[in-house]
Symmetry: C2
Subunit: 246 residues, 2 copies
C-alpha cells in the first residue's frame, strides 16, 4: 500500500483549509518561482503527478495545453478536483505516482508539486518520467527542501519565550523515513539530500536546467509579515530538467 | 585588494598544522569524493585555482597530466608549494583567482578546492573558467556548503554541557559577506545558496555532471570517531560541470 494520508478525514479537512487549498496557486508561497520554471504550455500534453485539487492541471489548460492528465492517490483529492474542473481536456487518474505506466514519449511537460517527499524512491520516478516524456520534454517539480526535511521534528528551534532562534539541521546525510507532524497529524516523509535529487535526475539522463529554493515574493513579504522567516531557511526545492533531444 | 588571509603569519602557521596541510590530500576528509569527480588527467592541461600548497597540482602530474598551472593569491602558500614540488611541468602563478586571464580553450580540466567561498562573485569565475576551458572540458570544485556558511557563527548549536545539539541554519537566502572565525582568526567568507552555485554554472553554459555533499568515508568513520558528526550536516559542496562540446 502506497502512502495515502490525504484520504484520512481529519487530515483532509485540515488540508482543505490551507491557503493553497482555498486560494489555489496564488495562495502557494512558492508559486511565483515554480511558474517561472514551467515552459510554455500552449499545445502541449501535460502530466501532473500528485495533482491534488487540480490547480496545476487547470493552470495548464488556461495556458492552452492541448491535454492534461492529473494523477493522485487520494480519492478525496480527486473528487474535489473533479468538482472544481469543468474541462473535458483534463483527465484525473486515481493511482499512486509510483505506479504510473504511460506510453513512451506521451508528454511534453511533466509537473509535480510537493509530492515526491512522500515517495520512497525518487530514482524510479525519474525513470518513469523520463520514459513518458518526449525528447526535449521538460520535467518541473517542487519538493520539501532537504534542509527542511532533515530532522523528524521539521520545525524551528525556539528559545524559552517561543522565539524562533534558527532552523536546526541534523542527520542530513541519513536518507529515508522521517516521522513528522503536518496539520496536527502524523505524516511519513522521505528525506533525501539535494545531491540525490540532482544526481538521480542526471543519472537518468536529464539535463538540469535550473534549481531554485523558495523565497517569498516582495509582494508577499509586504502583505504577510510572517513571510520574512521564509528568508531564513528554504522550505521548498524546485528543479527543472530536460530530456535531451537526441 | 582581494582577500589574502593566508599571508597573515598567525593564520598561515595555524593552517600549516591542519591535517590537510601536513598529510595532503589523504588528510582532507572530502578527498575521496572530490577525486571521483576529477576526470582522467593523463595528457591533459590542468589549472588549479587557489592551489595552496600544490597538493592537487602534484596529484595531477602523478596522474600524468601534461602540464599544470597552480594559481594562488598568497606568496606564503606558493613558497611552500614550490618547496614541495620538484617538477618542471608544474608552474605556480601568484594572482587573485578573480584576475586570471588565460588564453581561450587553454585547459582540459580546471580544479578548485575550497577557494570560491572567499570570492565575491562566483558568476565571473564561471565565465573566466568557461572561457579558458576547451569544449568538452571539465570544471570540478569544492566549496564550503551553503548549509555550513549561512550564519556568521558557522558552528554547531550546543547545550549547556557543550554537546552538539544540531547545526543551525539562518539567513540562508541572504547572500553575501559572513564575518566568521577559522583557525582562531577573523575570516571573511561569502555565503551563497546552492541554487546560485548551480544556476550560475548553467547560465554560463556549463552542463552539471554531478553534485556531491561531503560525507566521511567508512575508513575515516572507523579511524576518526569525531567524523560521525560529519553525517549530521554537509560541510562541503562539490560540483562537476562540463563545457558543452559544440
Amino acid at each position: 500500500m502506497k502512502q495515502n494520508k490525504y484520504d484520512d478525514p481529519n487530515f483532509f479537512s485540515a488540508y482543505e483549509q490551507m491557503p493553497r487549498s482555498v486560494k489555489g496557486l496564488e495562495g502557494a508561497g512558492e508559486w511565483h518561482i515554480l511558474k517561472e520554471l514551467i515552459p510554455k504550455l500552449k499545445d502541449k500534453n501535460v502530466l501532473d503527478l500528485g495533482c491534488g485539487f487540480g490547480w496545476h492541471c487547470r493552470y495548464a489548460r488556461e495556458q492552452q495545453a492541448s491535454s492534461v492528465i492529473g494523477v493522485d492517490i487520494s480519492e478525496k483529492m480527486l473528487q474535489k478536483a473533479r468538482e472544481m474542473t469543468n474541462d473535458p481536456l483534463i483527465s484525473y487518474l486515481k493511482a499512486p505516482i509510483e505506479d504510473i505506466d504511460f506510453s513512451k514519449s506521451q508528454f511534453d511537460v511533466v509537473i509535480s508539486s510537493l509530492a515526491f517527499h512522500y515517495i520512497k524512491s525518487f530514482k524510479s520516478i525519474c525513470e518513469k518520467v523520463y520514459d513518458c516524456l518526449k525528447p526535449g520534454g521538460i520535467f518541473v517539480f517542487s519538493v520539501e527542501h532537504p534542509i527542511f526535511t532533515s530532522r523528524n521534528e521539521q520545525d524551528w528551534y525556539y528559545d524559552e519565550q517561543g522565539n524562533r532562534l534558527h532552523w536546526p539541521v541534523d542527520n542530513y546525510q541519513i536518507e529515508g523515513l522521517r516521522e513528522t507532524s503536518f496539520l496536527n497529524e502524523n505524516v511519513t516523509k522521505y528525506h533525501r539530500t539535494i545531491s540525490t535529487y540532482i544526481n538521480d535526475l542526471i543519472d537518468t539522463g536529464f539535463i538540469i536546467k535550473a534549481v531554485k529554493e523558495s523565497v517569498p515574493s516582495n509582494e508577499m513579504l509586504k502583505s504577510i509579515p510572517e513571510m520574512k522567516d521564509e528568508t531564513r531557511r528554504p522550505m521548498f526545492l524546485m528543479v527543472s530538467a530536460e530530456k535531451e533531444n537526441s
